[in-house]
């Protein structure tokens, strides 16, 4: 009896500890995600990236912190004027996204970021990398759409990609705009799976769409 009571006690204790741990993880993630939409400088994104990396090393089985590290690299790449950092950023993004993919295979969100990372490689050196990473970026985003046809970020990424690709290479401003409009509709109805699941991109999509329409 005593033994049974004891083990019950331990079990509940363990559950409490793990619930507390999970709570801590979610809290840490929420803290890191706070204000993500208002980041303006590469330094701010780097600080966020560091936070996600800290969470990732504490929770090696979770794919979300690793995923956000990948997102941060692409944001730093967009904002940082120091081109000497661009290649290391590509390498780091690839490393973390490969990890995210192995922790959570066939996830639409991860494929969106992988497509973005391939796009970074192209911008690094269009003449050399275009032929390899151009089609790769396209394949990855198509796969993201196939995995989740309701993912607004997949429409957005595909739309931006097509909008900025020259017509000879299969690009089309019209088609790009259409996809971004679809993305905008999907953003309106999109509900993230939890407070820490990917929910970014609505304002960026609206911004680029306005710019495209303004032309």
């Amino acid at each position: 009896m005593k033994k049974g009571l004891l083990s019950l006690l331990f079990l509940s204790l363990a559950l409490a500890v793990s619930a507390q741990a999970n709570d801590k993880f979610v809290k840490a993630m929420e803290k890191a995600l706070a204000g993500l939409d208002s980041m303006k400088t590469p330094e701010q994104w780097l600080a966020k990236s560091n936070m996600f990396e800290r969470i990732a090393q504490k929770e090696p089985g979770e794919w979300l912190p690793v995923y956000y590290v990948g997102l941060c690299q692409s944001m730093i790449f967009n904002l940082d004027q120091d081109v000497s950092k661009h290649e290391p950023l590509c390498d780091k993004a690839d490393k973390f996204l490969a990890l995210a993919d192995s922790l959570n295979p066939n996830n639409s969100e991860v494929y969106v970021l992988r497509s973005m990372a391939a796009g970074m490689r192209i911008r690094l050196n269009p003449m050399v990398n275009g032929q390899k990473y151009g089609p790769l970026s396209g394949m990855l985003i198509d796969k993201a759409l196939q995995l989740d046809p309701e993912n607004p970020r997949a429409y957005m990424q595909k739309g931006i990609g097509i909008y900025f690709t020259p017509p000879q290479w299969g690009g089309s401003p019209e088609k790009g705009k259409e996809l971004m409009e679809t993305a905008a509709q999907k953003f309106d109805t999109f509900k993230p799976a939890s407070s820490i699941h990917p929910a970014w991109g609505k304002s960026a999509n609206a911004y680029i769409l306005d710019m495209a329409k303004g032309k």
Binding site: K2, K24, N50, E53, R54, I55, P88, Q131, W169
Partner: protein, 723 residues
């Protein structure tokens, strides 16, 4: 039991009730105490940590206590891990991070070497530069002529003329092995193109002197080509141009461990010559059929077996009018076979082994005559072959320092077959052994010390050549480098037949001294190099063949490349000043040789228009006049006449697009767009009274072509394997 339970509960309570807070604060710096902003400082296996600010300062609180691990990570620096004991209060932590090993920060031996590579970061060129240089026309050697040290105005001769050296003194090596006939069949008064497609190679090192002890038998220069490894994907290619067509296919196995491929091509200049009039009268318009095949197989984790095979047949014949109105006829049918089989891989962590073998054979069937009418059958045949094996082992000591040693054996034959004298064949068993070390004293200072021993059975002689290079990194972007060495070469076997089957001469020697300064920062490169070369034991052909020639070459070369200052524009400028004289072959005295211009300059520019996906390029080559032989001059004025200066403006444009899923590049190229007169020398009548200029067959050459490549659709495979 109850006691234990109580204790246990107390412990759990203690975790929260008695937790004490420690403030961790400090500054992250590099070894020279510069603050590092953006570093990630954290307690391992906790959420606690911070990012350093603009000055490198940071602070954060933690409730953890006791033995903990503090870690600092920062992109581009080695991460730092430290055991600490936390017990409340303030904990001062001032980590010093060291820069991670970075290829860009390590000194490289740059004296005499221009390298094009995608794999290495600090190179002056990329492989793509070779094919996009306007004056190159898709030929590796053509692109190298825009670099300092090489002559540009030798459009009438075969080979690369480097720093006062003749065309035969520059050797080509593929995967370490000597290539005997890297150029298409030689025809008098025409420049020859390289046989091998530049896309076959992932890396190119053009050495204008002072090169590694791994390579021998080139007195002036070594062109070291590294063939591609496994291709990235299966693909098909189609090339269509105004001179011919080609088709290729390559297949990459699904496990990415094996690939096979091949190309066939046919070219015929008859339609082009019909459209654009050529000066010589062609009895057979240049025609060629070629085929090549490759195979790659990964062996184990690090090994790669490569095979490359090449066959080409070409046929050309033409008459030129001599100064006295008579015709000189020349026709050559050439067949060439080249094969290369190599394996390289790691043996454990510290050893690398490279094994190679190659067999090549070249047949020339030549008809030539001075005649007033049709070519008379004054026929002769030239054959040569080269079979070789080579092994090189490298032992690594740490990250940078290494010791290389190896040996090679070559069996070569040269045969001359003439209807009056029959076949005469020379056979040589050439063997060599070499050892060389890349000794990194620090990441800033490297010494390369090498020794090469060679022996030729034909010459019945051996030679020992010491070589040494030093390089020192001055700052982040610049370095100085010095190279010295002895370079031996067998005499040209043709000389023997041209001189009544004279006795075989011995080794010839050049000694190089090179001093180089190089600055490379992101997209700007500046190089300046001075050199002095001393020749002795050069083969002379006056009377019998002897090794009593000599000479020197000295010069200064500049190179500047900028991809940054002008948007979407990449340009380089090179300038070479050369002072050289030599007594060799039939020269009665030491004179500036006919293939050497004193001043050579090139400007290469490329501009890319992203909106129209088109890249435009031009190359301007300039050289002062070259000496030519004038029989009317007294011996004291031997080779003192100069041809007019050489000018050549080449243009090219390439438009990139997609056609039915195929990446397509349309190329337009024009050489000597301004139609400037180019005179390479003069041909005199036997009495010296009349002469005609030796000029290109046509003023301009216009190339129009399209290259298409289809990646075979393997989407899922690419997705699975891209990481």
């Amino acid at each position: 039991m109850k006691k234990q339970l109580l204790l246990c509960l107390c412990c759990v309570g203690a975790l929260s009730a008695f937790a004490q807070t420690t403030l961790i604060k400090g500054r992250v710096t590099d070894p020279s105490k510069n603050g590092l902003p953006g570093a990630n400082i954290f307690l391992r296996d906790t959420y606690d940590g911070a990012t350093s600010d603009a000055e490198g300062n940071f602070q954060f609180e933690t409730e953890e206590s006791g033995a903990q691990i503090l870690q600092v990570t920062f992109l581009g620096f080695d991460s730092l891990v430290q055991q600490v004991t936390l017990s409340g209060g303030t904990f001062a932590f001032n980590p010093v991070l060291r820069e991670a090993f970075n290829e860009l920060k390590v000194v490289v031996i740059s004296a005499g070497a221009f390298e094009a590579s995608d794999e290495k970061k600090v190179t002056v060129l990329k492989p793509l530069d070779i094919v996009t240089t306007a004056s190159a026309g898709g030929d590796t050697y053509g692109a190298l002529k825009t670099l300092p040290g090489a002559q540009v105005s030798t459009g009438d001769q075969e080979g690369l003329f480097v720093r006062g050296g003749s065309g035969t003194e520059a050797q080509t090596f593929i995967d370490g092995m000597l290539v005997r006939n890297p150029f298409f069949a030689n025809t008098p008064d025409f420049a020859s193109r390289g046989r091998f497609n530049p896309f076959l190679f992932k890396g190119t090192v053009f050495s204008t002197g002072g090169y590694s002890a791994q390579y021998g038998q080139g007195m002036s220069s070594a062109l070291i080509l590294d063939s591609q490894d496994l291709p990235e994907r299966s693909a098909g290619t189609l090339a269509l141009s105004c001179v011919g067509l080609g088709f290729g296919q390559q297949k990459l196995w699904k496990d990415k461990g094996r690939a096979i491929g091949g190309n066939v091509n046919y070219s015929n200049l008859a339609p082009y010559f019909w459209l654009v009039k050529q000066t010589p009268e062609f009895t057979h318009k240049p025609e060629s059929v070629g085929t090549e095949a490759f195979f790659r197989q990964q062996t184990g984790k690090t090994g790669l077996l490569k095979f490359y095979g090449y066959y080409n047949y070409s046929n050309v014949g033409f008459n030129t009018v001599a100064p006295d109105g008579s015709k000189f006829g020349f026709a050559v049918k050439n067949q060439n076979v080249y094969t290369n089989l190599s394996w390289s891989g790691l043996l454990g962590e510290q050893w690398k082994l490279k094994l190679g073998s190659s067999y090549a054979r070249d047949w020339n069937n030549i008809r030539s005559s001075y005649n007033t009418g049709a070519i008379l059958p004054d026929t002769f045949r030239l054959y040569n072959s080269l079979a070789q094996v080579r092994a090189v082992a490298t032992r690594f000591f740490g990250r940078l320092t290494s010791l290389r040693f190896g040996a090679e054996y070559q069996y070569s034959t040269d045969a001359f077959d003439n209807q009056y004298f029959g076949v005469s064949t020379l056979r040589d068993n050439y063997s060599a052994a070499f050892a060389e070390t890349d000794l990194y004293v620090t990441t800033k200072l490297v010494a390369r010390l090498g020794l090469r021993a060679e022996h030729s059975s034909l010459l019945d002689a051996g030679r020992l050549s010491p070589r040494a290079s030093l390089a020192y990194k001055l700052g982040d972007a610049d370095q100085v480098s010095f190279a010295w060495g002895h370079f031996y070469q067998k005499g040209d076997s043709l000389l023997r037949w041209q001189n009544q089957y004279a006795a075989v001469p011995g080794f010839q020697r050049a000694e190089h001294f090179i001093l180089n300064y190089q600055y490379i920062l992101a997209d700007r490169t500046f190089r300046v190099e001075g050199f002095y070369k001393k020749y002795d034991q050069l083969v002379t052909t006056l009377g019998s063949l002897q090794n009593d020639g000599s000479g020197y070459a000295q010069g200064l070369e500049l190179f500047f490349r900028d991809k940054k200052s002008l948007k979407n524009t990449d340009f380089w400028v090179s300038y070479s000043w050369l002072d050289t004289k030599r007594k060799f072959q039939w020269y009665p005295l030491e004179a500036q040789p006919t293939f050497a211009a004193n001043h050579v300059a090139s400007l290469v520019a490329k501009h890319y228009f992203p909106k129209i996906r088109t890249s435009f390029g031009f190359t301007y080559n300039y050289a002062t006049g070259r000496p030519y032989f004038n029989p009317n001059q007294p011996e004291a004025a031997f080779l003192t006449d100069r041809t007019p200066d050489y000018h050549n403006l080449s243009l090219n444009a390439s438009y990139l697009t997609m056609i039915r899923g195929a990446f397509t590049v349309f190329v337009l190229g024009v050489s000597n767009a301004l139609g400037q007169e180019q005179i390479f020398g003069y041909r005199y009548s036997p009495d010296g009274a009349m002469r005609t200029a030796i000029s290109p067959a046509a003023k301009r050459f216009v190339f129009v072509g399209a290259f298409m490549s289809w990646g075979i659709d393997r989407r899922q495979e690419v997705l699975d394997n891209q990481n």
